[in-house]
Amino acid sequence: MEQQFDTSKIGMWLFLVTEVLLFGGLFVGFGMMQARYPREFVEAHEHLTRWQGALNTVVLLISSFTMVMAVDAAKKSNKNRQVLFLALTIVCACIFLVVKYFEYSHKFEEGWLPGRFYSYKGDSIPACPGVNPSQLASNPPPAPAPGAPVQQCTNGYATFFSFYFMMTGLHGFHILAGIVVLTWVLIRANRGEFSKNYYTPVDLVGLYWHLVDMIWIYLFPLYYLIQ
């Protein structure tokens, strides 16, 4: 049993490492693009609502706490507390997603959208009109005439929001997957399946949940706070 528990813990840690590398690639990509468009990235990030981001951070921190409490309750074979804290964790996760919903819909309204869908008009440097890249082959832009002035527009804002939606979207997807798995564990806990002899699923879901929280802890300052 103990060998099985240890083994599955190794498995979960390895999986978490792959998740770090998955998001890591996006963090590196964000860094490269920020170096390319420093001014646009700073300007664009002003459009993010800091209080909503901060609220979400607090909500996730609380959810990590309730998760720890759930694991503790399982270790102590306390069924009711397990169920309670797992349910609270799920509630926090749902609150996170609801706040995200409001954040996203505000952005859709204003036109702060990824890539070629970016349509906000209030930037200090004009944003380049969106181009569908797979159309570029059949409709190549005309070559600039010699001596013509260089076009003064930037793709930086669109790129910022591309990364914003990709990273928070991927993270949100992981929260959603977490809710599904937590619900499954909750149902099993309610059936009394976990005790001090066997609480592996609760422990492993806890590890996953803490990683998802930690990724947000990096995302939040990077997007919402850095000048």
Binding site: L14, G25, C128, L136, A137
Partner: protein, 550 residues
Amino acid sequence: MDQAISSVPRTGDRPRPKKNYLNETKGFMSWAGTLDHKRIGIMYLVGVLTAFLLGGIFALLVRLTLLTPTHKLFGKVLVTAEVYNRLFTLHGVIMVFLFIIPAIPAALGNFVLPLMLGAKDVAFPRLNLASFYLWLTGALMAVCAMIFGAVDTGWTFYTPYSTTTDGPVSLMVMAAFVLGFSSIFTGLNFIATVHKLRAPGMGWFDMPLFIWGIYSTAIIQVLATPVLGITLVLLALERSFGIGIFDPRIGGDPVLFQHFFWFYSHPAVYIMILPGMAIISELIPTFSRKTIFGYRAIAYASVSLALVSFIVWGHHMFVAGQSQLATVVFSALTFLVAIPSGVKMFNWMLTMYKGNIVLATPMLYAISFLILFAIGGLTGIFLGTLATDVHLTDTYFVVAHFHFVMMGGTVTAFIGGLHYWWPKMTGRMYSETWGRIGCVLYTIGFNMTFLTQFFLGSKGMPRRYYNYLDQFQPLHAFSTVGSWVIGLSLFITAAYLLASLRKPADAPDNPWEGTTLEWKTSSPPIAHNFEEQPVLEREPYDYRPVAAAH
């Protein structure tokens, strides 16, 4: 010499078990829903060999087009440029993602690893089955992409060509994404298995070197593949959403794609070669009837190859526009990564010294590996050296180099391992005569095809061309004929291996007198591998005579 192949049917005097993992349960669902690592290994084997066949057909078509300087044969257009570009792309995509990366770990490794560790199965059998279905899903997605017009970007998907060309590029890269997760979960499974499921008495340095090789491979699979995954997602999003990361016309950097891509794909080539070397580390001591020379060196070399492989990716980009400092640093580090491979070659050589060598088919493949991998590895020096790489990169020299290491190395080892473990997996022995014919023909055909390509490349023949200057024709024609010899040799090999399945399953437990734990159970093994939990009493590859009889 054939007397060296043991015909002693059983170790000890136990009767042959009537039921083994193949006939224990029957029916489609007993295979489709199996959690037995051996059955999963067999399903993978059938899958990757089918992919190898498909990729091989594309290769033969590519070489056929290159028989003449234009794309015409006897005056008629054989393939158009658009078709040729898809042929070489699909050859690469299928061979890399569907065949070589999974082949040794998922097909042979799945079968052999738990047996060698003295375990009942891998750490996470359900995850293992899921890995297989992910492979299958990725394969089906790739086939769909082929049917819906196929892709002409090259297997490297460089931007902005790949973000702007027509075709189901996003579908194809998502197929590779799914295949990547199959690879990640296999690696994850193996790491956990090696850490936790070793037999009593088997410390880290008592494990067979095949395990060390698979373990090192698994480290790379887990760490590198997610980066490819996110890169491919970014590519697909660039195509549909125009996010502006890789395409310069929407504000992106095409060289950034190359950095992301090669950060995975360089370690990926070590995912390909480390298992091949792992097999050679089994074949040589067994068929030399002598202990492996430098066990710890080989073990450490395997892990250090895995780790150093992560810091050399820029050597694919010396002329791609990366900074000059990066170029210099990557060249220096690339020379570092050559050393562990060299060390292994010497260790294998010294294992054979004063051995008692049986030249059975697996051993012939092992010797062929030593020759072909030596050429592949040495030609890497020309490419790691900055000044010569400038001339040689993006020419047929590179094509020759990587075929020597990937095919001359990994595929040769794979075929050798397949022959080695064939009696264990199927319970049958194949025809030794045909085995030797196949190996010799393969080695000759391989050299004909690819040795010539070094000369083509250094004389100035670029890659991915379907027309070429007349002066290159003699070498190209010779190379094409070589490809037919390879095709013939592989056809022969497939034929006699399949023919062996018609014989009754009465192979000995240990035909090669191997010392590792998989040979201590029946051929084929029973469903739960061992009748009793084996306990390790001797080091692997210990060919000293047992002091006293029991």
